[in-house]
């Protein structure tokens, strides 16, 4: 007997009610996808108009910022915007310091750039979500500012200021357009996903309690889905004045959902025993329900929990070192080739290294960039030399950008992740190659150089990643399992975390192992070992409480 009352009203009911509300469809796409696409178009147009009006040196950066911050809901874009702005400031300071420290010493300067890129990639591997993006952007900013101005270091400060101003305009444009045109709130989407997860955990617990068969795969997928929601909950903080309360409620609900599942597994599945499991299971279920209500009502939980993530220092250090090596080799190739605009290509390598570090598979990201670059180049060429073809009035540019921005918006909101990623990268690359300016130069040679080097940079990086692969995904699970076993042997060292927080951190590590382990026999074996370590660790955490006992009742207050 689990102590769970089946008749208790489930938050899943709300999810069902929302799911049956079918959005109107226009030309094969749901209305909300069209609205999102038009918001992007309008934001790009506003950003370009203001940047042209202020006569900024790099107005395309404002449009590029909109492309990067284009998300269907308000909170996601705002959080990324804040990190983008901070990372740009850090990147510009880094560029000024490095260029100031090594004047007239190109080799040393390039070495310092490589170390900076390596450190940024190292830091990226220690964070998740938009924090990882921010550290990656520190590398990208260096590529865009310092590497691009390597022959004219006296212009770095000016380039940095203009980039900062353009980014601020891009952020303001998309924020104001989203606010005025009623972009949906992100907390509604998070609440829906939490309800769905609640329903699945509840279902799994009932089946385990009833002695039914529960596949390990099902549990692992559920844990991975829950930990994947963690970086999304942080985006709620920036959404409104009640954002921090909502974020705390969502985060606590998520952590307690994982704890609920861990408790159920400990009690019914793994064979380990915990005293009186029925009471805490009921209590934690009610607490999750209360936190989900708190998310909707913007009520901060009385006992807000953190959702720590696990990151391997070794994996991060190896990834950072490899990124530095890629950068040095690319710099050497471009230096000795002596091509014009090679600094643009080297800057692009730094950008790809930084952003690739935020992707689960850096080489896959480079491959995607390799595919996107010629497509985006072709679209930019058609826009510039066929559609615009020498036009110098703003309304023509507005109309010419409509199919690009609206098409990208429709793709970005696709339920198919590959299409969504291709839509986003393609949009960003097209804006980068098109690089709208006032007046537009319509210089075919400049376009051709940009296109060729935009294709060469990912090609070169991909070749390097074939010779010296990014840290092999197959070895990551081994490292993480060894870390887990080591921690199990010295569990008292983690007492600084609440039991629920420690369980969530272990779940995050388990999710990383699942992501990197292959689908073969060896991969399945490693996942089995990781799940076993998770169960043992959870049992340790659950037995040390305040979770079991007073805290359960306290959490209901």
């Amino acid at each position: 007997m689990t102590g769970i009352n089946p008749a208790e009203q489930s938050p899943a009911a709300g999810a069902t009610a929302v799911a049956v509300a079918v959005a109107p469809v226009f030309l094969g796409f749901a209305l909300d996808r069209w609205l999102f696409a038009f918001r992007i178009w309008l934001s790009v147009v506003v950003a370009l108009y203001v940047a042209f009006w202020l006569q900024l040196g790099s107005p395309s950066t404002a449009a590029l910022t909109v492309a990067i911050l284009a998300f269907p809901t308000r909170g996601q874009g705002l959080e990324k915007a804040a990190y983008r702005f901070i990372a740009t400031i850090v990147g510009v300071i880094g560029a000024i310091v490095i260029c100031g420290a090594f004047p007239q010493a190109d080799s040393l300067m390039l070495l310092a750039f490589a170390i900076w890129v390596g450190l940024a990639v190292y830091a990226t591997n220690l964070f998740d979500g938009n924090r990882a993006y921010a550290t990656a952007l520190c590398a990208s900013t260096l590529g865009l500012i310092a590497v691009d101005q390597i022959d004219t270091p006296q212009n770095i400060f000016l380039a940095g200021m203009e980039r900062g101003a353009a980014i601020a305009i891009g952020i303001l444009s998309i924020a104001i357009v989203n606010d005025l045109l009623g972009a949906p709130n992100y907390h509604d989407a998070i609440a829906l996903r939490l309800r769905e997860l609640y329903r699945k955990v509840d279902d799994l617990t009932r089946r385990m309690a009833g002695g039914g068969a529960v596949e390990n795969d099902e549990t692992i997928q559920l844990i991975a889905a829950m930990t994947a929601l963690r970086p999304e909950t942080t985006a709620l903080s920036t959404e409104s004045s009640s954002g921090t309360a909502r974020a705390a409620a969502a985060r606590t609900a998520l952590v307690e959902l994982v704890t609920w599942l861990a408790m159920a597994r400990t009690a019914f599945h793994s064979g380990a025993s915990v005293a009186q499991p029925a009471v805490p299971l009921t209590a934690i279920q009610r607490r999750v329900t209360a936190h989900m209500a708190g998310l909707s009502e913007a009520i901060r939980p009385s006992r807000a929990l953190r959702a720590p993530i696990y990151r391997s220092q070794r994996v991060a250090a190896e990834s950072g070192a490899r990124a530095a090596v890629y950068f040095i080799v690319a710099a050497a190739v471009f230096y000795y080739a002596g091509w014009p605009q090679a600094n643009f290509a080297l800057g692009l390598v730094a950008i790809l290294l930084g952003l690739g570090a935020t992707a689960p598979d850096p080489r896959g990201f480079t491959k995607l960039a390799m595919i996107s670059a010629p497509i985006a180049g072709a679209i930019a060429g058609i826009l510039e030399f066929v559609i615009l073809d020498g036009a110098d009035d703003f309304p023509t540019l507005v109309l010419a950008l409509a199919p690009l921005a609206v098409g990208a918006g429709l793709m970005m909101k696709s339920p198919n992740r590959a299409i969504a990623a291709l839509g986003r990268i393609n949009f960003i690359f097209t804006i980068a190659v098109l690089s709208p300016s006032n007046p537009e130069s319509y210089d075919p040679q400049s376009y051709l150089y940009t296109l060729v080097f935009a294709c060469i940079a990912p090609l070169l990086l991909f070749a390097m990643q074939l010779v010296l692969p990014p840290i092999p995904t197959a070895s990551i699970p081994r490292i993480l399992i060894a870390d887990a076993e080591r921690e199990l042997a010295s569990a008292p060292a983690r007492q600084r975390l609440e039991p629920e927080e420690a369980i969530f951190r272990d779940a995050d590590r388990l999710a990383q192992i699942v992501t990197n382990a292959g689908d073969d026999e060896k991969g399945r074996q490693m996942i089995g070992e990781a799940l076993s370590a998770f169960d043992r660790s959870s049992a340790n955490q659950l037995s040390r409480g305040p979770l079991i006992g007073s805290a359960c009742q306290k959490g209901m207050s």
């Binding site: 308000r74 400060f157 601020a168 924020a175 104001i176 989203n178 606010d179 005025l180 009623g182 972009a183 709130n185 409104s240 004045s241 009640s242 921090t244 309360a245 913007a298």
Partner: protein, 67 residues
């Protein structure tokens, strides 16, 4: 009457005075967030996002007027 702005000079570099006002607005906006949450500001309006945006715009305008 023309409104004159005090130039913002950091380390000998002349910066736009708007930067100072934007920075100050952002700081005030962040500082009053807990207060807005406490008084449930977002529940007073049908579109809380526009209301908060308007509040920030009002703070920015006020700072420029007082500056």
């Amino acid at each position: 009457m023309m409104h004159s702005f005090n130039e913002l000079i950091i380390g000998g570099v002349l910066l736009s005075p708007a930067l100072f006002y934007v920075g100050l607005t952002l700081a005030i906006a962040l500082a009053i967030r807990p207060l807005l949450h406490r008084i449930k500001f977002s529940r007073w309006f049908s579109n809380a996002a526009v209301a908060e945006l308007s509040l920030y715009a009002a703070i920015f305008g006020l700072l420029i007027q007082l500056g």
